[in-house]
Structure formats: C-alpha cells, structure tokens
C-alpha cells in the first residue's frame, strides 16, 4: 500500500515544472519587475577609456537636471570608506573610481533620479577629464619590462603579476618525460567569453532609517554570501540586512560576484532614504561584469609508443583584468584547473600558473563551470587529440587505453583528487555505437575523394562538481556547505527552503521530488522557497553545479530526520515499540502486520495534536550538509561535422552526448541542462567571444558584436545516459548543470580539426569562425588567437 513514487512526482519522474506556471503567464517576478513605493532610479556613468588618470569630474550640470536627487562620485564614496570593496579572491575592486580608471566600462559616477530616463540624461551631462595612460590588453604586454603599472593603488604590487602558483610532482613528471618515446605539445588560447544571461544585473536597495533594516532585491546566485559581503563592505549589522534574490533570468556564474552597482545603490538608498533601483543595460553587463576564461594553455605530454600516458605538464597564463575577482575556493589560485586529466590514468603531472592584471574588466568567474574546469577539460581533450595524432593512434582507442577503469575506483589523480565512481568505457561504447564510429573512417575517406571534408571529434571528461567538502573548500574563509529546512504542516503539506538559489535549474520542482522520495508526500504538496536570507537557512548558493550535490543532499538529510521523528510518532500511534515499525514509501506499519499502519500524513497531524509524552511538538528539521567529497560525473561526447572548403563554414551533422551524472532526480530537467550546456559549448567553439583592440575597447559590447547562437544555427543533440550512482551522496546523484559546457567545446573543435588536419593544420583557436577555418585551409598553418591582438 505504499504510494507509487512516479505518481507522486518522486525521484525519476519527469515531473513538469512548478515554476513554469508563473513564467508561461508572464508572472515571473524578476528584479526589474519589483516596484516599491517612492522608488528612485539609478544610472551609472562608465569610463569610455581603458586606462587613464582622472583629472576632474564635473557633476554640476547633472545636478541641474530636474528630477535628479543625487549624484555620486568616487569622492563621495571615499568619504564613507566605500570607494573600494573586497573581491572574492582577497583583492580589492573600485566601486566608483577615485584615482584612475583601469578598464573601459569601469564605474565612474552614478545619478539617482525620479525615473530612469532622467538618470540617463543627467549621466550624459557629467564631464570627466582624463589623462591617458598606456593600455595593457594581454598578459604579454602586462609582463613586458617597463609595462605601465595597473594597480598602483596597492602596496607591494611592483608589477602586473598577480600570482605564481603550482601543484603536482615536478620531479616525477620530469622523470616521465625522460622515459617517453613520444612527447606531444600543444599551445592554446581559451578566449574571453561572457556568460551573458538574458537578464542583466540589477538591484533595489531599500534602507529604512526607522528600523535600521536594509532590504536589497538583487540578481544574485548566492544571497547569503552577498549578505556577508554587504555587512563587511557597508559595515551594517548582518541581522539588519535582508537580501532577496527573486526570479533570476539566468546566471551562469555572472551573478555570483558583488558588483559596484549593488554597493552604490545601497549607499544611494541610505542617503536618500528611498528605495533605489539600478538595472544595468546589456552593454553595461557585457563590458563590466564577470567574464569567463581568457587563459593561455600550454601543455606537454609524455607518451609510450603503445599509447600509455606517462606524464603531463601544463602551464597556464591567465588574464584577470584590472581586479582579481575570480569567484573560487580560497586555496586554489586558478580554480580547479588541476582537475585536468582526472578521468585518465596519468602517473605524474605538474601544473604551473601565472596570473596577470590587464586593462580589461575583471574576469575569471566560473562561466557555467566549476572554477576553471572548462578550461582544464578543453586543454585535456585538445591535448589528447594532439597526442593521439602524434602517436598515429585512433582517437577513441587512445582514450580507451588511458581512461580510468571501473575497478580502479576510488582513484587518486596525479593532482590529488579522489574520483570515486564511473563506467567510462561503457560511456565510450554507447557513444561510439550511436555516432557510427566503426564505419566513420571509411565514410571520411570516401567523402574526401569527392572533395567533402568530414570530421569526428571526441571529448570525454570527469569533472569535480559540488564544492565542497569544507576541509578544502571555502570562499573568503566561509566553508562551502549547504542547507535545507523542511517543515511539515499538520495536514501533511510542507514547505522546504534551501540555501541554494535556482536560476532556471528547476529547484522548485526537483527539491520537492527528493522530499517525495524520502517521505512519500506528493511533490505537489510541497512548496519550495529560495533566495530570501531572512527565511532561508545559510547556504553558499548555486554555481559550480553544486546545488544537487550539496543542497540536494541537505534536502534528503532533512527529510530523513523528519522521517526519523515521524517513526517515533508512528510507534506511539500504533502502540508498538519503535523497533517494530517498518517503513515503505509514505507509510509506517507494524512488522509482520502490513495492514496495520499509519501514513506520513497521519504522523504529521499527530505531531501537532497527539504526540507521545515528552516529545517536542511539530515536525520539522534544518540540515546543514558538508559533503565528504566532490561528485564526479562523466561525459563522453561525439561530434560529427562537415567543413565547407570553399567558405570555412562548418555544420554539425550529428552530436551524440553520453552523460553519467549518477541517479537522475528529474530526467526531463537533466536533459534540459545537457542541451542548454551543449549549446553554450557550441557557441564558444563557433562564435561567442569577447576581444579588445589595442586601445582596450571591448569588441563584443552588445549582441550585434557578441554573437550568441539562435534556434536557426544551433544543432540538434542526441542524448544518452549511463547511471553510476555517486557512492557518498544520499540519493546517489552527481552534479550535471555544467558538464556539457565543460566537455562540449573540445568535441566541436576536435571534429573540425579532424576534418582538416590532413592539410597539416594542428590547431585553430576558438572561436572557429569561418574566416579562421578558411585561413587555415588556405595556408595549411595554425590559426592562433594569441597576441598580437586579433580583432575580427
């Protein structure tokens, strides 16, 4: 008589999404939809030059515009000790520039007015006099002797270098290279990209002098971290700060950092004593908020003739822009770059990294990526591709020789991660079968004879998702755990809150499914709330595919603790001892007498009306979950393309994605995540990048220059699944949101390279726009995205 799990919308049900009910009616509530009484509007004046000393700022004409209430500059901020703020990587970032501007788009002044049109008008009347300084737009220029010093505001910062960092076994790796039969090398640029959620960033700060309470509606993926940051920056007591992250129009990592606009709107509200709304326009979003990537990746691999990898070396040079504001665990300077090659059995590895300041917007956010894992896996799979070619080995065969075998788990990677589960070779087999790998070479030969260029590209990876365990992962010292609070009402309905924050991932739907799975309460009877720091338990937010691995686990644990209490109530109701109670989904019964039982709803009512003597009333739990390890999903992607030799245009003929993200809570939503991620991967491989000219002008500051794929060019994807449950996650799930963005780009690039490398070309840097592919075909030479600055 247990309930049918699929019928109640439990685990494994492709339950239609609850949040859709408002979105399809146009009733979503995004920050810009919130209107507060007496609300003023803020506009930011941004620097139009990339590196210049500020000689003067004249705001007098702006003050004259009717309807203007306040004009703020760096000077006003500095008077309140708010001109600078800390970043998530222990650096500082200017809120409003005081001394000089360090990138085009940097915040210089702000106008607060009765409506946004007036604020824009007044911004245009502010006159800033600049004195030009030499502009640095790449690490080569930053490292050059005598280069202009970007961060002259900092003590002990004599150069533009931010850090040198290393990890791994240098001596062991050197030995591996001495023993190698073949050494393969690769030199890549992973260009700057912007996550570009459709909704830009914004906030509404509402300070109430009477109560001392500051409420901020904000586009943030991590409301509790923001609360801590605001407490720190604005020196307000944490209990008087309420951050509300309402519906978010996408995030993809762009909405993790603290942005100057948020801080300015807060000060503006404190000064005007009215709510102040700031909504960034698209250009502001693209030129000033968190970029991803912008890394130079150099690698070498030591190989034995039979295809066995003996060791690998990697060096990264990263361009962080003017402020080091990477959102990443404290311990690691270049994120989890050292997760590279985690799915392969590599005996020795060594990674060195150098980071530089440049006159570009602060970058290094994890754009749909678990802290630089996208770069790590792109490097890995381009390195694998080059190595297989250098060995004269088949791409799939080379990978299968070196992939970690099922019986090797738990497996300690060369950089020290512990991977714990997977069926890598099975995923390979499923993918090879689906794409028709066995007959492809013949097909490719035949096509070539007729002048057609076909190629197949493979990308496989396991990535570290779900930071963290708190031993190793923290941001600004705050340990990376997460939380859930489950309250079951007397009628058996429930409310669940977590410290995560959905941005389209469907938490309102899937969290309820986990509770349904654990308690047998229909998912429709559970409402899920996130994003309000006054009501949700403390959590680190949603990014790095950490919600299901961490907050999702907390949901399961909270539900289990509720069930444990309900069991005691059941024993009381059934008048037997607790040891004689059995559980089936939705119901407790007496061992040996299946008919004698009570439902979870009966227990909920009793928790409020008939609890055992001495028991605390109510039925609820708050759980904080600190995962023992990361989760390790696996992906094997196979892409088949045709390159048009006359134009350099390439079309995806077929794309097979095999994902093993452990147990799937809602298969429909998992597939949606994979398809969305693959599309971003396709975008980065094909068109989506942001570059800068010599003067530091951002090329890609709007959607006419920054190309995003539409329905027309985006290919279709064929999805397959393999399920290897995560051994330590309460419901066996692993992260999935970012797998496709991480593993995808190399599949596209490897496919195009496979189609044209008979011409001698080894590499074209992303994006593989037709002109780059055409140039490679014409010259037989590699096409690099590295300096000198390339502006298409």
């Amino acid at each position: 008589m247990s309930v049918d799990e699929i019928k109640i919308g439990g685990m494994g049900a492709s339950r239609r999404r609850v949040e859709d009910n408002r979105f399809i009616r146009g009733k979503g509530k995004y920050v810009d939809d919130v209107v507060l009484p007496g609300m003023l509007h803020m506009e930011i004046l941004r620097a139009d030059v990339a590196h210049a000393r500020i000689k003067s700022i004249d705001t007098s004409a702006a003050w004259e515009v009717p309807g203007v209430r306040l004009v703020l500059t760096g000077e006003t901020m500095a008077a309140r000790n708010l001109a600078w703020m800390p970043t998530l990587s222990y650096d500082t970032q200017a809120v409003l520039a005081t001394d000089k501007v360090r990138f085009q788009g940097q915040e210089v002044a702000a106008v607060i007015a009765d409506d946004p049109y007036i604020a824009k008008d007044a911004c245009a009347k502010i006159v800033v006099e600049y004195e030009s300084l030499p502009v640095i737009v790449n690490p080569d220029q930053a490292a050059a002797p005598g280069a202009a010093l970007i961060r002259d505001d900092k003590e002990n910062q004599p150069t533009n270098k931010i850090f040198d960092w290393e990890i791994g076994d240098k001596a062991g790796t050197d030995r591996a290279f001495e023993e190698a039969d073949v050494i393969s090398t690769i030199d890549l640029h992973y260009p700057r990209s912007h996550p570009s959620p459709l909704e830009p960033c914004g906030s509404i700060a509402d300070y109430d002098r009477a109560t001392g309470k500051l409420t901020v509606y904000m586009t943030t993926q991590a409301p509790h971290i923001i609360r801590a940051a605001v407490a720190m920056v604005a020196e307000l007591p944490e209990h008087q700060i309420r951050i509300i992250s309402p519906d978010l129009g996408g995030g993809f990592g762009n909405k993790v950092p603290v942005y100057p606009g948020y801080v300015i709107s807060i000060l503006a509200s404190i000064l005007t004593e009215r709510p102040v709304k700031w909504i960034e326009d698209k250009t502001g979003n693209l030129i000033s908020t968190g970029f991803g990537r912008d890394v130079y990746l150099q690698g070498q691999m030591a190989l034995r003739k039979d295809g066995k990898i003996l060791g690998m070396r990697m060096h990264t040079i990263s361009d962080h822009g003017a402020f080091f504001s990477d959102a990443q665990p404290t311990k690691f300077k270049i994120g989890l770059m050292h997760s590279t090659f985690a799915c392969y059995d590599v005996p020795a590895a060594h990674l060195t990294s150098t980071g530089y300041y440049t006159n570009k917007a602060p970058g290094g956010v994890a754009y749909r990526c678990s802290f630089r894992v996208t770069e790590a896996m792109f490097f890995q799979e381009r390195m694998m591709h080059a190595a297989a070619n250098d060995l004269g080995m088949d791409q799939a065969e080379f990978r299968r020789v070196n992939l970690v075998k099922d019986d090797m788990f738990p497996y300690r990677t060369a950089f020290g991660f512990l991977t714990d589960s997977g069926q890598y070779d099975k995923c390979m087999q499923v993918g090879m079968e689906a794409i028709g790998y066995a007959t492809f070479k013949e097909e490719q030969e035949e096509a070539r004879k007729r002048g057609r260029l076909l190629g197949i590209g493979i990308s496989t990876m396991t990535e570290p998702l779900g930071a963290g365990n708190s031993r190793e992962y923290d941001i600004l010292g705050i340990k990376m755990f997460d939380s859930a609070e489950l309250r079951v009402h007397m009628s058996g309905k429930a409310i669940l809150r977590t410290g995560a924050k959905t941005q389209g991932q469907g938490h309102e739907t899937t969290w309820a499914q986990i509770v349904a799975h654990e308690l047998g309460i229909p998912a429709d009877d559970i409402v899920v709330e996130e994003g309000d720091t006054d009501t949700a338990p403390f959590g680190m937010g949603t990014y790095a595919s950490r919600s299901t691995p961490v907050a999702g686990a907390a949901v399961a644990m909270a539900a289990r603790k509720v069930r444990a209490k309900a069991r005691k109530i059941a024993a009381h109701l059934l008048e037997v001892s607790e040891e004689d109670i059995e559980w089936e989904l939705g119901r407790f019964y007496v061992r040996g007498n299946h008919d004698r039982g009570v439902t979870i709803q009966d227990c909920a009512l009793a928790a409020y009306s008939n609890m055992p003597d001495g028991m605390e009333p109510g039925l609820e739990n708050v759980s904080y979950y600190d995962p023992p390890n990361l989760t390790w999903p696996f992906a094997a992607y196979f892409c088949k393309v045709e390159v048009d030799p006359a134009t350099g245009v390439w079309d995806v003929l077929n794309f097979v994605a095999v994902d093993d993200c452990g147990v799937r809570i809602n298969p429909m939503i998992v597939e949606g995540q994979v398809m969305g991620g693959l599309t971003e991967a396709y975008a980065m491989a094909n068109m989506q990048y942001i570059t800068f000219d010599e003067a530091g002008n951002c090329i890609g500051s709007n959607y006419m220059d920054y190309l995003l794929p539409t329905a027309w060019e985006t290919p279709g994807f064929e999805l397959h699944e393999v399920v290897t449950p995560c051994p330590h996650h309460p419901i066996g799930a692993k992260g999935v949101g970012e797998c496709a963005t991480v593993a995808g780009p190399a599949a596209f690039v490897n496919a195009v390279m496979n189609a044209i490398e008979h011409t001698g070309v080894r590499n074209i840097d992303m994006p593989l726009q037709p002109n780059r592919v055409f140039e490679a075909l014409q010259t037989g030479q590699d096409v690099s995205g590295m300096p000198p600055v390339r502006v298409e």
Binding site: K282, G676, L708
Partner: protein
C-alpha cells in the same frame, strides 16, 4: 493611472512635452500621456504594469520584449509608445483566458521549453504569430521564425518541440470545433 509619465510632467522644474496615445492592449483600450521618447516596452512594463514583457538587450537582438503589433511580432524595445497610437498590442498577459492556458503556454510547459523563463514570453508571442500564419510548420520553419529570439538556457531543441506540440494541439482543437 500611470506614475512615471505624470510625475515627470508634475515636476515644477520640468517642461516635458507629452502626447496622448490610445492603444488597444490585450483587447482593452488604454489611453495614456507619454513622453514622445518613451519606448513601448517601458510603457507596457512600467506604465501599464504588464511586466511579462521583458527587456534583455536594448538593441533589438534578443527578442525578450517581443509583442504582437496588429498581429505581427515586433520588438517593443525598439518602438516608441507614440508609434503604437491607434494600434493593437498583444502581450503574454493576453495569451491565457481566465480559466484556460493557451496551447502555446501548455506546449512550453509540457515540453520543458523554458528554464529561467526570461525569454519565454517573447518566444511565445513569436510562436503565436508563426502559428497564426502557418498552422503546420516544419522544424526548420519553426527555427527560422524564432531566430530573432535568443534563449541562453534551453538550447532551443525543447522550444522547437513546444511549438510543434502547440501547433498540433491547435490544429486538433480547430478540427474538433469544425
């Protein structure tokens, strides 16, 4: 009934010219005084409180602000409110009746055609224009008709499925009525 526009005019220091326009919005005649420079998207959102129409890019690329203008899909961030004087505008709020969802709305939910929901109203309005012209589109025709609308979450595959699902449902509904 509006605040933004009246308030500007009421400011003692301001001498802002306004123009009276009448627009049929979701079948209801709305008469407002607006600054000539006011964008239609902003009139809908801030003036009329119809926040289902979103603005994403400000440059007519993303299509989140798509509404129907005399039945044709247009991007309301690139039309002035005064240009809509005397015309009919239909927004996402006009899709469903009090009791029933439009088949397009059902299709998007049924086929998981949305994630964050920000592009969805524009996608659905562009879909409505397509299906009114072409009740039985091919996949390519759907992709082409929606190529002025960006989605950052879904990868479009499920959006296409949603549109085809809705088209089939609408043809079925019409069949029943006949």
């Amino acid at each position: 009934m509006t605040s933004l526009y009246n308030e500007v005019a009421a400011d003692p220091g301001a001498d802002v010219p306004t123009r009276r326009v009448s627009i049929s919005v979701n079948g209801e005649k709305r008469t407002v005084d607006v600054e000539p420079r006011l964008l239609l998207a902003h009139l809908l959102r801030q003036g009329l409180g119809l926040t289902g129409t979103h603005t994403g890019c400000d440059t007519t690329n993303c299509g989140a602000c798509t509404v129907l203008f005399d039945g044709r899909p247009i991007k309301s961030c690139t039309m002035l409110a005064v240009q809509a004087d005397g015309h009919e505008v239909e927004t996402v709020e006009g899709l469903a009746s009090a009791s029933e969802l439009h088949p397009i709305q059902e299709g998007f939910k049924e086929c998981h055609g949305l994630q964050c929901g920000y592009c969805t109203p524009g996608m659905m309005m562009a879909t409505k224009a397509l299906l009114e012209k072409n009740p039985d589109p091919t996949e390519d025709e759907v992709r082409w008709a929606l190529s002025g609308n960006l989605c950052r979450c879904t990868g479009y595959q499920n959006i296409v499925k949603s549109v085809l699902w809705a088209a089939e449902k609408m043809r079925g509904d019409e069949g029943e009525e006949a």
